[in-house]
Symmetry: C2
Subunit: 376 residues, 2 copies
């Protein structure tokens, strides 16, 4: 099986390396630099303009499956073009557009389009789907998730595994959740609570807009996703946001300069949030599902804690995000994920053995998810 | 006695109104607006360009004493020009230049130049001078001072009685103090401690560069000034400063715009820190002096708490700052402060009865300073 990986950033490179252990991989990127170390490891590479010209179509012509790990703003159009080449797509670009329009295109071309195949959304949504097969009645779903540095430096106690601009967007965009079966919206960074997690300690969880596709077909009447940080981060980010430092609307200064505060602050935060090379970091996710299980009201909790040694060279965020994606590629390659049209990760959770396959794939790469059940 | 008050801002207007109860006052300002309400109260006013042309000299020609309550960056040159007109000067502009060069000019023109006549520097320095007359051996001086809103709004719990740019400057400029008889420098906003003051409650005190002239002729081997705020303010301001938001050096943004972060942040903080009209505020100052008094190691504490009712119309900062200044004008007008050359407020404290005069003048305006002595 031949797989093209479009985008060789931190996550794309981790995906290419992992897939290369089982498949014939072609790693593609607009820049030569990120391809060099992949090439040195014996992976076929191609510098390609994925936006203009016919490079993308040419690449699709030579492979059986395509992984899209491109920047979010390119994601949707890359996905469309891959599907129009009649190639199955596994997407991890987290594009901002709704994915539903891809369903028709994928069906018309007789292929699957699996999107949002990361850790959250991704593994989190697989668990939502799995939970709904587990319970006689599914009452409540919540996901707490974050990527964090192990060494906490004041004042932010945070380093960004991706662009600060995307993190700021998370702190600004109103957070949607399902309450009483309806979509409700609260301010991002609100509803802060402390959560004590095994092997990690006290973290804070706050509202962010992470449910994505789960908002459209709620599986339970209560569903929410919250972001995890070391305690104190949300209050500080709220000061920045409420003062106007995250505003995108340009402000006219006394000197006559017009500047968008967010552009300035993102630049300063980029310097403050860039992880030190080799700095140990971790990915933490807890998914809680409550419902009726064998007639007994039960809470099932899945805890994922990934804390790789820095020597591995691949960041925890790249591992957890990338390996969920490659687990889905594996399902497609082995013919387990068949059919046509849009596939959301919650659909994979609904498949018999779907979650078990993903969990086994992650476990083989050292990412373990522990499940606990308790009556409530 | 005829007195010109140059500058009719918040402090200048309070000064003009107070002096008008005893003297013939001419209030001058570059703008017409602040003069209107003074004029309505029967005070003579004159719109004047104090920077260009001969307006300033013409004004000086018609009065006996001049008060300079102009913005700090104009202060030194206005002071020089007033002295060259051979008019006694009482200055409250807090110019950034060292005042010592004014001594020669004042002597050459046979007049006094009293500078830094506010609350701190001002009353604080008078007390330093007074303390040095009190003790057989003066060991330690410290002044804690701040202007605060009574109603604390998150996150800053602060409103600026003067321009946020000046407040930011206080948070950035290294703080000098005297330790073991030598000038030492620490970062502003450092050495945070909690101080519980009667009638106010817990405040935080942190290092700022407030000793000014006391640094040049230290009266005690240990001298420091700290700024008071509601607790938590310093940590937050440290985040802003350390991230680079208070930098004056322009930063180039991805869009090609070059902007000084401080200019942007000062604009946003101006909106956040402007007091609501009529919002109750207070001025708090504690001066502590330790030394040998009648052979016994003693701490003398002076507590100033000014908390005017909003109906008075004059802010607490304007009252405490302005009335120290008018107390000094009163000493000049009554011939008690005589001679030629530079007069610092600590010199007034050294005069027999100097502090008692200032204290009585303030008390008559409802600003009381309580003195307590205790062995240590």
């Amino acid at each position: 099986v031949r797989v093209a990986v479009l985008g060789a950033g931190r996550v794309g490179a981790a995906i290419a390396r992992d897939l290369a252990t089982s498949f014939q991989v072609l790693a593609c990127d607009a820049s030569a630099a990120p391809l060099e170390s992949l090439s040195a490891d014996g992976i076929a590479t191609r510098q390609a303009d994925l936006v203009r010209g016919g490079d993308l179509e040419e690449i699709c012509g030579g492979v059986d499956i395509v992984v899209a790990a491109v920047p979010g703003h390119l994601g949707f159009s890359v996905a469309e073009r891959v599907l129009r080449c009649s190639r199955p797509l596994v997407d991890i670009s987290f594009f901002p557009e709704e994915p539903f329009a891809l369903d028709r295109i994928a069906r018309d071309h007789g292929v699957v389009a699996a999107v949002d195949c990361g850790v959250a959304p991704g593994t989190s949504h697989v668990l939502a789907g799995y939970a709904s097969t587990l319970f006689e009645r599914f009452d409540r779903y919540r996901c707490l998730v974050g990527g964090l540095p192990w060494i906490r430096h004041k004042p932010f106690e945070y380093s960004a595994p991706f662009s600060p601009a995307d993190v700021i967007e998370e702190y600004v965009r109103p957070a949607r959740s399902i309450r009483g079966g309806k979509v409700v919206t609260v301010a991002a960074l609100s509803e802060v609570e402390l959560v004590d997690l095994p092997g990690v300690g006290a973290l804070e969880a706050f509202a962010t807009d992470g449910l994505r596709s789960l908002l459209h077909l709620p599986m339970a009447p209560e569903m929410e996703e919250k972001t995890l940080r070391w305690p104190g981060h949300a209050d500080l980010m709220r000061v920045f946001r409420d003062l106007g430092l995250f505003d995108e609307m340009p402000l006219e200064l006394p000197s006559g300069i017009r500047v968008a505060p967010r552009e300035l602050v993102a630049k300063l935060l980029f310097a403050a949030w860039t992880p030190q090379p080799g700095a140990p970091e971790l990915t933490v996710m807890r998914v809680e599902a409550e419902g009726l299980l064998d007639g007994q009201k039960t809470r099932v909790t899945w805890d994922l804690l990934d804390q790789p040694s820095p020597e591995l060279g691949t960041s925890s965020m790249a591992r957890t995000t990338g390996y969920t994606c490659t687990a889905v590629v594996d399902l497609v390659a082995r013919g387990i994920l068949q059919g046509e049209g849009l596939v959301l990760p919650e659909h994979i959770g609904l498949l018999p053995g779907g979650w078990a396959s993903i969990a086994a794939y992650l476990a083989a790469r050292g990412i373990t998810v522990t499940e606990t059940r308790q009556p409530v």
